[in-house]
C-alpha cells in the first residue's frame, strides 16, 4: 500500500530552507560566537537527511547531483591548501592572516583565512555524513 505523505513532503520543503539558513548562520558565526564548520556542516547534512526521509534516495540524488566523496576531497584540499599557503611566504606552517577589508555591499568586514580552513571542515563534514548515510541506505 502506498501511503500519502503530502504533509510531510510539503513541510520538509519549507523546513529544509530554514535549516540550511540556520546552518549557514552557524557556520559564519563560528569566529565570535558558538558555531563553526563542524556544527554547520552537520546541520546542513541534517537538512538533506530530512529530504531523504520525506522523499527517496533517487529523488534527492536528482536534486543534489553531488558525488559526496569528491566533496570530501575538495574540503581536504581547502584545509590543506590554507595551511600550506604559509609555505609560500616562508612562515611557519598553518600561520593565518587576517585584516579588515571594505567589500562593495557588506562594507567594512574583518576577514580571516581561518574561514577558508573552516570551509574545508564544512565540506568534509557534509561529505562524510552524506557518504555514510547514502552508502548504508543503498546497500541491501
Amino acid at each position: 500500500m502506498k501511503t500519502n505523505d503530502v504533509i510531510l513532503q510539503t513541510t520538509s520543503k519549507v523546513v529544509f530552507f530554514m535549516i540550511v539558513l540556520f546552518a549557514i548562520h552557524l557556520f559564519f558565526a563560528g569566529h565570535y560566537n558558538p558555531g563553526g564548520g563542524f556544527v554547520g556542516g552537520l546541520m546542513t547534512s541534517g537538512a538533506i537527511v530530512l529530504l531523504l526521509l520525506a522523499f527517496d534516495i533517487k529523488t534527492v540524488v536528482k536534486g543534489f547531483p553531488i558525488d559526496y566523496i569528491i566533496l570530501v576531497g575538495i574540503g581536504l584540499l581547502f584545509a590543506v591548501g590554507t595551511a600550506a599557503g604559509s609555505l609560500l611566504f616562508n612562515i611557519p606552517f598553518f600561520t593565518h592572516a587576517f585584516g579588515d577589508v571594505t567589500l562593495p555591499v557588506l562594507g567594512k568586514t574583518s576577514l580571516h583565512t581561518a574561514m577558508l580552513f573552516d570551509t574545508g571542515v564544512y565540506l568534509v563534514v557534509i561529505g562524510v555524513t552524506m557518504t555514510i548515510i547514502q552508502t548504508i541506505g543503498e546497500s541491501e
Partner: protein, 493 residues
C-alpha cells in the same frame, strides 16, 4: 626553509587527497603515489642531513610560541625513523603494483597508504602529547581500512578484534593524557618534562607512567598486551602486513621510548624495572610462538614480538649504550621485517600456500630469491657483518654493564631461537625436493622480488656501514640520555 620538517607529513597528505579524485584510473594512482613517496623520501633525507648539520629542528605551527601552540620537533631519532618509514612505504607501494589486485586498488588503497604514512611520520615528528594521540588515530584509522579492504571473511573477523582493542587503547590514551594534564597542566612534551623535573616524580606520575605503558604496550604488542597481534596481522594481504609489521608496532615502541626517556625517568627503580620484566617475558613468548608454527606468516609475526621485547629491554636498561643499541636495532628491525614479509609474500605467491610443509625446493628455480631470503634471515638473527648485530651487541653490553646478567643472556639466547625459526623457513621452503605448484609460472616473481631485495640491500649497507652510522646514532641518543637538549631546543632558552 623553516617548514622543511613538515614536508614528510604534508607531501603524503596532499597526495592522499589528490588520489581521492583519481579512483577510476589505477595507472594514474600508481604513478602519483610512487612519485610523491619518492618526494617524501627525498624530503626526509634532506631533513636528516639538516638535523645532522644544524641540530634539532623545531617548528611552532601557526607561529604560536612553544608551550602554547603545537610544536613539531625533529631530532635525529625522529628524522631517522621518518626516513626509514618513507623508504619502507615506497618499497611496499612498488610491491603492491603486481600483488594487491585491481579491486582493492580501485577502492582507495593507495590513498589510504598515504594517510598511514601521514600518521606514522606525524607520530614520529610531533612534540605535543595530544597531537601524538591525533596522529595515532590517523594511523589507526588508515590501518583499520587496510586491514578490512577486500572484505574476505577472515579479514572481517580479525578487523573486529583489531578495532575493538585499538578503540579501547585509544580511550585509555585519552584518559592518560587527561590525568597527565590535570597534574602538570601542559601538553607540550618539552614543557611537561620540565615541569615533572620541577615537582619530582610524584606517585600519581608513576601511575600515569604505567598507564602510558599499558596504552603504548597495546599498540606495540608487549606482554601481556600482545594477544591481538598474531591473529589480526595474519588477516590482511602481504604488502599491508609488511607495512603493519614494520611500522605500527614500532610507533608504540617509539612512544614508550619517548615518554620514558623524556617524562618518567625520575623513579626508574619502579617503572624501568617493570619495563624490563615485561620485555623479557615478551621475548620469551615471541620466541615460543616463532618456533611453534609451521606457517611462514605466523613465524615472522611472532618474530615481531621478539623484536619488540628486545627493543623494550633496551629502553628499560636506560643507559647511553643500551639506548644506542635500541635505536640502531629499531631501524634495522623496521627494514628487515618489511623485507622478510615481502620475501615470504613472494614464496606464498609462488606456492599458493603459507604452510611450510607444503613448500619445498624453491632454490632450484629461484636461487636469487633464496639467497636474498637467507641474507635477510641472517641479518634478522644478528650475524656479524649484517645489521642486526651491532644493535643487539650494544643492548646486551648495556645490560651486562648494569649487572642484569640473566635478562641479557635471555636476549642473547633469543637470537638462536630467531635464527632457528627463520632457518626453518629456509630449509623447508628452499631446500628439499622440488615440487610442482599450479600456476607458478604466471606469477611476477622478479618484479615482486625487487622491493624486498632493495630493502635487504639497504640492510646490508646499514650493517656494513655501522661505522658511518655510529655518530648519527649517537646524536640520536643524546636527547634521550639528556632531556635538557630536547627541552632547550623546543623552549629556546
Amino acid at each position: 626553509m623553516i617548514n622543511l620538517l613538515i614536508l614528510p607529513l604534508l607531501i603524503p597528505l596532499v597526495t592522499a587527497t589528490v588520489l581521492i579524485f583519481l579512483t577510476k584510473s589505477v595507472g594514474a594512482q600508481r604513478v602519483i603515489s610512487v612519485i610523491s613517496t619518492i618526494g617524501t623520501l627525498a624530503a626526509s633525507i634532506v631533513l636528516l642531513l639538516t638535523v645532522k648539520n644544524e641540530g634539532i629542528q623545531t617548528i611552532n605551527v601557526s607561529s604560536w610560541e612553544a608551550p602554547f601552540g603545537i610544536t613539531l620537533v625533529s631530532d635525529m631519532l625522529s628524522a631517522l625513523l621518518v626516513t626509514t618509514t618513507s623508504l619502507i612505504t615506497l618499497c611496499v607501494i612498488l610491491y603492491s603494483f603486481r600483488s594487491i589486485g585491481a579491486s582493492r586498488e580501485r577502492f582507495y588503497y593507495y590513498s589510504v597508504i598515504q594517510f598511514l604514512l601521514v600518521g606514522v611520520n606525524g607520530a614520529f615528528t610531533t612534540g605535543d602529547i595530544f597531537n601524538m594521540f591525533v596522529f595515532f588515530e590517523v594511523m589507526l584509522m588508515a590501518s583499520y581500512v587496510l586491514i578490512v579492504i577486500g572484505g574476505t571473511k577472515i579479514q572481517l573477523r580479525e578487523s573486529i578484534k583489531y578495532i575493538l582493542v585499538n578503540v579501547i587503547s585509544s580511550a585509555l590514551f585519552v584518559i592518560a593524557v587527561a590525568l597527565l594534564y590535570s597534574v602538570v597542566g601542559s601538553l607540550n612534551m618539552a614543557d611537561i618534562s620540565q615541569r615533572i623535573a620541577e615537582i619530582g616524580q610524584l606517585p600519581i606520575l608513576t601511575v600515569i607512567a604505567v598507564l602510558f605503558l599499558i596504552v603504548f604496550g597495546l599498540k606495540g604488542a608487549i606482554f601481556p598486551l600482545y594477544f591481538w597481534l598474531p591473529g589480526s596481522y595474519y588477516a590482511p594481504p602481504v604488502p599491508v602486513l609488511a607495512l603493519f609489521g614494520s611500522l605500527l608496532t614500532k610507533v608504540g615502541v617509539y612512544s614508550i621510548l619517548r615518554s620514558y626517556s623524556l617524562f618518567f625517568y625520575h623513579d626508574q627503580a619502579f617503572t624501568h624495572e617493570l619495563l624490563g620484566i615485561l620485555a623479557i617475558i615478551t621475548v620469551i613468548i615471541g620466541g615460543i610462538g616463532a618456533i611453534a608454527y609451521w606457517d611462514v606468516k605466523k613465524i615472522i609475526i611472532y618474530n615481531i614480538i621478539v623484536a619488540v621485547g628486545v627493543l623494550v629491554y633496551g629502553i628499560s636498561v636506560a643507559t647511553e649504550e643500551s639506548y644506542k643499541g635500541m635505536v640502531f636495532y629499531t631501524i634495522h628491525d623496521m627494514i628487515i621485517k618489511a623485507a622478510l614479509f615481502l620475501l615470504i609474500g613472494v614464496m606464498i605467491k609462488i606456492t599458493g600456500t603459507s604452510d611450510l610443509r607444503k613448500m619445498g625446493g624453491l632454490m632450484k628455480k629461484y636461487p636469487l630469491l633464496g639467497w636474498t631470503f637467507l641474507i635477510a634471515a641472517f641479518a634478522l638473527a644478528g650475524i656479524p657483518p649484517l645489521s642486526g648485530f651491532v644493535g643487539k651487541l650494544l643492548i646486551v653490553r648495556g645490560g651486562f654493564a648494569e649487572g642484569e646478567y640473566v635478562s641479557s643472556l635471555i636476549v642473547l639466547l633469543s637470537s638462536l631461537v630467531v635464527l632457528y625459526s627463520v632457518i626453518k623457513i629456509f630449509m623447508n621452503g628452499f631446500w628439499k625436493a622440488p615440487k610442482e605448484y599450479p600456476g607458478e609460472d604466471s606469477q611476477p616473481v622478479t618484479f615482486l622480488w625487487v622491493p624486498g631485495a632493495i630493502l635487504v640491500l639497504t640492510s646490508i649497507l646499514y650493517g656494513v656501514g655501522a661505522e658511518v652510522m655510529y655518530p648519527i646514532i649517537s646524536q640520536a641518543t643524546d636527547a634521550l640520555v639528556n632531556p635538557t637538549i630536547y627541552i632547550d631546543a623546543v623552549l629556546k632558552e
